[in-house]
């Protein structure tokens, strides 16, 4: 899809302005960066990393958070206390600082970044799943299932999980948005995924040094981030009204 390979360096073509408004080259719609790489191609390739990281982190967080939330809400007592404690400890860390600390210790790269971002997202799932499970557990159909001797794993799987699934889907959408924003921030700080792969945050970090001479380098990657996050948030809103039986 990209017009040029994102890593092709062409020093004769460096710092070209975009095709509009100044008379740039129509060959490079969004201009080129400090070593002559095509901005548009790099932004298109950057989408891969942002989306891959965002979706993986949301998915990983969804699995971990939902399981913990279900257990906390359903079993209550010491299990609930332990999981709620974990949630509150996680929330106590200003996340960017904690993420820097973790990535400094364990090193960057795709999997560590996804793992660290999942630490930010699992709490969203755990909190909502826990509170919904708590109220579902008191409902008659669960009591009835208990009474006829259905085991706990089966009740969780057949009765409670389907009821909380819509919320999980909605939260997943917002969590993907959050993960994409955080990934961009981490790449901007230089602790993201491999710096040789084009990513929006790393492009912004580079563009920052050329703010005075090449405004386009710091402008377009940010627009790409904002539009992607906006899309994920809007999808979350839409899913929220679609999946909520009362709002239909």
């Amino acid at each position: 899809m990209a017009p040029y390979p994102p890593t092709r360096i062409d020093l004769r073509q460096r710092l070209l302005p975009p095709a509009w408004p100044q008379p740039g080259r129509p060959a490079h719609l969004l201009g080129t960066d400090n070593v002559g790489r095509d901005m548009l191609s790099r932004i298109i390739w950057g989408a891969r990393i942002s989306l891959a990281v965002g979706l993986s982190a949301a998915l990983l967080g969804a699995v971990a958070g939902s399981v913990l939330g279900l257990c906390a809400g359903f079993f209550g007592g010491a299990v609930d206390a332990a999981i709620s404690w974990l949630i509150n400890v996680q929330l106590a860390f200003p996340f960017t600082l904690f993420a820097i600390f973790l990535l400094a210790v364990f090193g960057g790269g795709f999997l560590p970044v996804v793992g660290v971002l999942a630490l930010a997202t699992w709490v969203n799932f755990a909190r909502i799943v826990r509170s919904q499970t708590l109220s579902l557990r008191a409902q008659d159909f669960v009591t009835a299932a208990h009474a006829v001797g259905v085991g706990a794993p089966r009740i969780l799987r057949r009765y409670i999980f389907p009821a909380v699934l819509p919320s999980i889907v909605v939260v997943a959408s917002f969590s993907a948005a959050q993960a994409i924003l955080t990934e961009a921030a981490l790449s901007f700080l230089g602790v993201g995924v491999d710096p040789t792969i084009p990513s929006w945050g790393a492009m912004l970090n580079l563009g920052r040094n050329y703010l005075q001479t090449a405004w386009w380098m710091a402008t377009f990657p940010g627009i790409a981030i904002a539009l992607t996050v906006l899309g994920a948030n809007l999808m979350g809103d839409w899913l929220g009204t679609r999946l909520d039986p009362r709002a239909r």
Binding site: W85, L86, N88, V89, L91, A92, F93, P94, F95, T96, L97, F98, I100, F101, L102, A104, V105, F106, A177, L181, A184, A185, F188, L189, G190, V191, L204, G207, R208, L211, Q212, W215, A218, T219, P221, G222, I225, A226, L227, V229, L230, N233, L234
Partner: protein, 305 residues
């Protein structure tokens, strides 16, 4: 009753802090043997053993953790590798700058976000549509990019304000505005949805029946009932601000703890990172404890629980 609630909150905060200390200790422990970083590769095995014993690394893990906790309680987080100073003094020296930045952003967020939400909820129609648009954009725009764009517009093109650094009010405006945008978006949404609910409540109808001015009904009667979730969220919001401040500080070369952490990251100064993260967690817990106390003051119902 109120005392027991506060006591419970304090115990709760203490439990969270213990978790924070375990997490920071565990992560720092995973950095591996600090002796290899401290000594030259040519140091003899005897020197290494001596160093380990000196740092307490030959003790069992639980003893090491308790030692760390004991030092932390006394405000001792060890020495920074790069600055050769105590971590606590370094963090405390940078703390006022971060608090100033986050506090200003918070003040902007409250003074813009709350009225915005009230107006959007009571005028309806175009006002709430505009707010919705604005808050969706506000939530999607990364703060560091907004910072870069503001620098480009205001400082590079219009030359109105300094680009970066620390000093008077002129240096504070851009970073504080940048940091406040997401908070404004979140707060105004919360206030708007809360106000919409509150305006339908019975006590509002009673107030109208008494013939009170609409102005007074909205800003006194309804708003007061929306304040509790706002204060609760404000506590969390300050935590978010502290977290986003890290990136904004880097954009504007603001000398706060965020930039300290990023410097420590670059130099792989683990004690400094560990201390910064731990103290930030401590700050967050204290802020939320304060938010709970304020809620109990605003809402008499919460004192009974």
């Amino acid at each position: 009753m109120r005392q027991t609630l506060l006591l419970r909150r304090c115990l709760h905060a203490l439990a969270v802090l213990i978790g924070v200390s375990i997490a920071t200790f565990a992560v720092a422990h995973a950095t591996g043997d600090p002796v290899t970083l401290l000594l030259s590769p040519s140091a003899s095995e005897a020197t290494r053993m001596q160093m380990r014993a000196h740092l307490g690394l030959d003790q069992p893990l639980i003893t090491q953790y308790l030692l760390f906790l004991g030092h932390a309680v006394q405000g001792d987080f060890g020495q920074s590798f790069i600055y050769r100073q105590s971590v606590a003094s370094l963090v405390l020296a940078r703390l006022p700058a971060t608090l100033l930045l986050a506090g200003s952003a918070f003040a902007i967020a409250l003074s813009v976000g709350v009225p915005l939400g009230v107006v959007a909820a009571t005028r309806g129609g175009w006002a709430s549509a505009t707010l919705n648009l604005f808050s969706m954009a506000g939530l999607a725009i990364p703060s560091f990019w907004l910072g870069l764009m503001l620098v480009l517009l205001v400082a590079v093109w219009l030359r109105l304000l300094p680009v970066d650094g620390y000093g008077g009010l002129a240096h504070l405006i851009l970073p504080a505005l940048t940091l406040s945008l997401q908070s404004i978006a979140r707060l105004s949404r919360l206030v708007a949805s809360g106000m919409q609910g509150a305006m339908r409540a019975d006590y509002i109808r009673t107030a109208r029946a008494k013939g009170l001015l609409e102005h007074r009904i909205v800003w006194v009667h309804a708003l007061r009932n929306v304040l509790v979730p706002v204060v609760t969220m404000a506590g969390l919001e300050l935590g978010d601000l502290l977290s986003s401040a890290v990136v904004v500080e880097v954009v504007f070369a603001w000398p706060g703890i965020g930039r300290l952490a990023v410097t420590a990251l670059g130099e792989r100064d683990f004690p400094l990172l560990q201390g910064t993260v731990f103290m930030a967690g401590l700050g967050f817990v204290l802020i939320n404890l304060a938010a709970d106390a304020i809620c109990a003051r605003i809402d008499p119902r919460m004192r009974q629980v």
